[in-house]
Symmetry: C2
Subunit: 738 residues, 2 copies
């Protein structure tokens, strides 16, 4: 029941900017939004090409500055879309048909080849009719080539057509809503050099700030065209209908603090061939085999495949780039990398595409020097603090209460190093890269925290931090942060004990002591796990008098109004409980869930997937299904209303978590894999593939029946529906669940 | 033992920028720094003239903006100094003697006339020697005239001198340390019109933003000069030595939201005459009679007189201006008005110059519309919230955690309305202006706060506020804020009950209930009054490893490092205890003092005066004296190191509080005046004048002896050294204190 494509019928609207996001193409590095193939009056659209990690830097201006503030913005650069091919009839005066009537008939994104095919109906300003079919494809073999095939058919026009292929030289400022922090606000100054040649143009883009040494070379080549056609010359045209093909290739070099990225142009110029389609098909077949998910609900099947396809298109693979909050599908959040990668997206890669997971984690290793430096700026003399939002490793958050104060990113990264190791058993990575990350982040906590008397004994406390929930800031002992730091330090002690990295016994003992005695706030009165020291005492947000139009709250209320109320943007304490299922009883989890659910707005796209997973764990299967529907289809139904700015990449990952961590109750504890069947009644069948310590496995859930199969690899002892099982090759752990 | 002048021997250094501040002249509206009388290479100085309330506005740029943030900077405008009179010998090519060697021989500021006399020794670039005596005086009769008398004596030069009087037309940006939030950072764009005329030039300054309708007219007139001398023409000069006199007069019009300020130019042009000196002498004699302080220590006598003289020079008197954090002695803190006026400066005016106090409080009444609007931006639908820092009434703080979150300013203003009423019994003011201020600020608290179970009963709590101590931000139940809001609401209830303002009985009951049940945090374990809910649990700042050069902390540590430690910039909880002596026992106060003193850096100039007062109350007289020395002489010894940017006006007021609230233990409770003798052993005698409900009184303290005398007015029942006394006209309450 694999779905092989997404069509226009599967999406929320035909608003162009929305479609640009939804049908965006990428290879993890080069991202091209699906803008219309004409220039003109398109201010409402974002006709851009993005290169993962290619950014401009500008000094941050503060209303009131202070010591240690982040110094520079890093803003992913919006390059001109390479999709433009303007044409004009004899009667129309300009090649830029901004006022032409144009409708999209169909759009088909093929998950097996990565080919996007669109059909447009065009009425020119002199009332002629044309049909235009555009096929687009990015080669997925890491050559960074975009292929475009334009097939123009005249329906009622005979005469000469003039064409031009405008790669616009001015890269102007993105128009943006100045008060919405989720939209990228600063465009770079760029210099470029334009080298026209026969049927070819080459553009070299360079960022203005020399110190970043970033350069892009874009080669744009006409590979196939009707006789007599000359695009880069004098716009000579042809009669009636015809086909034009273009290849745009990118190469780049970025210098990072510790290394260089050099991606050369391919030697040959290729036109659209079946060979390239076949190469893509092979790569994607591999991908779908490793990451296969089958689910009985057709909408959800389409949703999860779309989501995984887009995750695959967004993930950097060269070890020095990561996955931005909106991938390379839009310039939102300035193209920054956040904790989203580790906590929402990496599990999918770790369990099914470990080679990509390793590259993404290598990025964190590569920016350790910047993280060490950042810790010093915060007054901590040992260890490292990762930037809350960054491309080059330096902090780029201009609002520290919901930026740098989210120290938890340190432990999030360490947690994911541990998950990667638990699932892959990649000893080399842990020894050579992971251990240093874990040790340095743990060292930060050790100095950052302090010992205080709590509940009659000395416990380790963390003051003035911000947890994942950005509707609460600068609190004491955020449960999530404390719980994650506890794991971070425990893992560091384990690494020292097992000689994955050098360190002294005293430090190891300190890690163990702080981890063991980490304070975890609990509200005795209400018997709930407390988000922080004071949260249970605060007044609840006035939900009754808040109109639906006032959400998301962050766009309608002063932060001070939000901070002084008990209201959550997203799962916070519950996220920690999701990650550590063995920390609390189901009764406790239920009380916590019932306490936090009514005060959570889900104004963040990182929320619903977690609520779905925990509803599964609590066996509230209808609720789990309902939250999962919103997760899986978030961008396809435009639930948050802002998919036009780019996909919610964390939620793409969250939709895989909802199936595997939620419906299949999957987790690893003490190195042991757990699977529990929580399939909602609306779903009759769910199966998915994963890799675990060298094995390829498949989990199959049906109502009342759980099967786990090893496809390749050695036998495994694991826990299925609460019972320990020994699973051998080609045997099936088959459990009748209630 | 009155001191009648300040001389160069009384001050810390001869650094020019420092002297510019210390010898600044003002009449509450027009402020002129004591810059050298030549233009030239003076980048290290601030040769400016400031007009109280005359500001430029520019949009605030945020690194990351959000809903409800303050929109515009308001920056007091630095006008060109009118003190310049450049001259040149025949051999020197330019009138601008930037490279001339110039030393200041003496400077004398006369407290009885406001006349500043300075003597400079000059060596020109062609090695000639001159002596220049400059006398400066601002008429204190509200006519805003500056008189300058230049007496130039040639010591070894005969020949023609060329003169020019440069009023520079470009008002350029103030150079400022970008990371120091205490320094004004933005200069205005100004337009000006320059109208030269015979022996006169007239300049009209207008701010660029038309909506503020602010205009200054500056008339600059040569009133006396040697024959043949023509300054505004072709720089014709005269031989040898001579005297030149200049009068600079200002007029202005500002539009504020509810009213206009119009200050016309005087009809006549006057030269420096003894009449004007005599008029000033009369005004200042009056001032010193009303505000007389005599203290046996000569240094402290000079200190307090200097401080009061400068307070008098800085206070706006037209009801629509206030006292800026640096008065009109420098552009620091952008010329903004803070809570400093109410809590540190107004008591002096209330007790000794009530007509000025009333004008200063009228300013707050005049900006009530802006405060109402600000409350709406914060999500509070009734009442008013005063801007943390402002000139025109709108919030100008670009960092809300240490700006808008200092809600306590609301209660500070209400407190001072009450103090003014308690001391003056001005019924009209309370009915017509004060009651509305108190009611609207109280209404804000009522909706802002919330009821929570604390210590087994429902109490009124205030979440996510910042108290006076800016090294702690966004905390729950800041003791100071809660205690002040408690008084604010109790006073509002009293005003309603006594029909000073209309309101309903239900609201009155709510004020009483919230006030009575206000939660005041207390740490049972350590038996200390807690700064806020969590403060006692936080780790103490690492004082042992903090070098002396690392203070003030705000310039050397990230706010997050500061916020997560128990460290105070200034008195916070202790300030509340200072204001309400009857709240706690002396034993409790002593514990609190001993708890907070070691963690207070006094990085704020608002701190030491409070520590002195409380040391007096605790009868730790040596400590009280020591803190008082630092308070009284703060700018004269340049204790904070930044007097060059302007005087610490709050501390000027604090030095009066140290004497009266401290050494004389003065306070009002339940309408009754209290005096207690805490005179330090270093001081043999202290006496001061005050006004209390229509009476003129004098307090005289000696070691072991307290006298309170009514100079004019009806008998008074008050408390002297703990005993209730009835004091009649010309009788003396004479107490032998221990």
């Amino acid at each position: 029941m694999q779905i092989d494509k997404l069509t226009l019928k599967d999406v929320a609207t035909t608003n162009r900017q929305y479609l640009e996001t939804i049908f965006a193409l990428g290879d993890g590095h080069m991202g091209v939004r699906d803008s219309v193939p004409f220039t003109g009056n398109q201010q409402a659209t974002l006709p851009v090409m993005l290169i993962n990690g290619y950014y401009a830097t500008n000094p941050i201006t503060y209303g009131e500055s202070a010591y240690g503030y982040a110094k520079n913005h890093q803003t992913i650069i919006s390059l001109t879309s390479p999709r433009y091919l303007d044409f004009a009839t004899e009667k129309t005066s300009s090649e830029i048909p901004g006022d032409w009537d144009m409708t999209v008939d169909d759009a088909v994104l093929d998950f097996d080849t990565g080919v996007l095919t669109e059909k447009f109906q065009i009425v020119t300003s002199d009332h002629h009719h044309f049909e235009l079919v555009v096929k687009s494809m990015i080669a997925l073999d890491n050559s960074h080539q975009l292929f475009l095939n334009y097939e123009l058919t005249s329906l009622d026009y005979t005469g000469t057509l003039r064409f031009t292929r405008p790669i616009i030289h001015d890269v102007t400022a993105t128009t943006a809503d100045a008060d919405d922090p989720r939209v990228a606000q600063r465009q770079s100054g760029l210099t470029n050099q334009f080298i026209p040649a026969d049927r070819q143009q080459q553009i070299e883009w360079q960022t203005l700030v020399a110190s970043t040494h970033q350069q892009i070379t874009q080669r744009d080549w006409l590979t196939s065209f009707p006789t007599g056609f000359e695009v880069y010359g004098d716009h000579a045209g042809f009669h009636g209908s015809g086909t034009i093909e273009v290849q745009t290739t990118l190469s780049w070099s970025f210098t990072r603090q510790i290394s260089e990225i050099n991606q050369a142009l391919p030697d040959t110029i290729t036109s659209w061939t079946n060979d390239i389609v076949d190469r893509n098909r092979q790569i994607l077949t591999n991908f779908w085999q490793q990451s296969q998910v089958q689910i009985s609900d057709q909408k959800l099947q389409a949703g999860i495949q779309y989501n995984l396809f887009q995750l695959f298109q967004s993930a950097g693979r060269n070890g020095l780039t990561n996955i931005a909050a909106k991938g390379i599908t839009g310039p939102g959040y300035e193209g920054h990398y956040f904790w989203d990668t580790e906590m929402y997206m990496l599990p999918f890669f770790i369990y099914t595409q470990p080679q990509i997971a390793k590259q993404l984690l290598h990025y964190r290793f590569s920016i350790l020097p910047q993280a060490r430096k950042r810790a010093r700026s915060l007054g901590v003399t040992r260890g490292a603090l990762y930037a809350w939002r960054t491309i080059n490793g330096e902090e780029a958050s201009a609002y520290f209460p919901a930026g740098t104060a989210q120290y938890h990113i340190n432990a999030d990264i360490a947690h994911t190093v541990k998950l990667y190791f638990d699932v892959t058993n990649d000893q080399n990575f842990l020894r050579e890269q992971g251990a240093a990350v874990v040790l340095e982040t743990a060292r930060f906590w050790l100095q950052f925290g302090s010992w205080q008397q709590r509940d009659g004994r000395s416990q380790f406390c963390l003051y003035k931090v911000t947890g994942p929930d950005e509707y609460t800031a600068l609190v004491d002992n955020n449960y999530y942060t404390n719980r994650m730091a506890k794991e971070n330090m425990a893992f560091a002690a384990w690494l020292l004990e097992n000689h994955y990295i050098d360190g002294d016994a005293d430090e190891q003992a300190q890690f163990t002591k702080a981890s063991t005695n980490m304070y975890l706030p609990y509200d005795q009165e209400q018997q709930v796990t407390a988000q922080d020291d004071n949260s249970p005492k605060m007044p609840v947000w006035p939900f009754a008098t808040t109109a639906a139009t006032q959400y998301p709250l962050l766009l309608h209320y002063h932060p001070l109004m939000i901070y002084r109320h008990r209201v959550n943007k997203q799962a916070d304490t519950l996220l920690a409980e999701m990650l550590f299922p063995e920390d609390q009883s189901l009764e406790q989890l239920r009380r916590d869930y019932e306490y936090y659910e009514p005060i959570t707005t889900h104004d963040s796209s990182l929320s619903r997937s977690i609520f779905s997973i925990l509803a599964s764990r609590l066996d509230d299967r209808d609720k789990a299904f309902s939250y999962y529907m919103d997760t899986s289809l978030m961008d396809l139904v435009d639930l948050q209303g802002n998919a036009k700015d780019g996909l919610h990449e964390a939620n793409l990952g969250g939709s895989w978590l909802g199936l595997t961590y939620g419906f299949a109750g999957m987790y690893v504890a003490d190195g042991k894999l757990h699977i529990t069947n929580h399939l909602p009644t609306q779903i009759t069948h769910l199966s998915y593939r994963l890799r675990f310590r060298g094995r390829v496995m498949e989990v199959q859930l049906q109502q009342g029946c759980t099967k786990v199969q090893i496809i390749t690899g050695r036998p495994l002892t694991m826990v299925v529906d609460g019972q320990q099982r020994e699973i051998a090759l080609e045997s099936v752990a088959n459990s009748k669940s209630s």
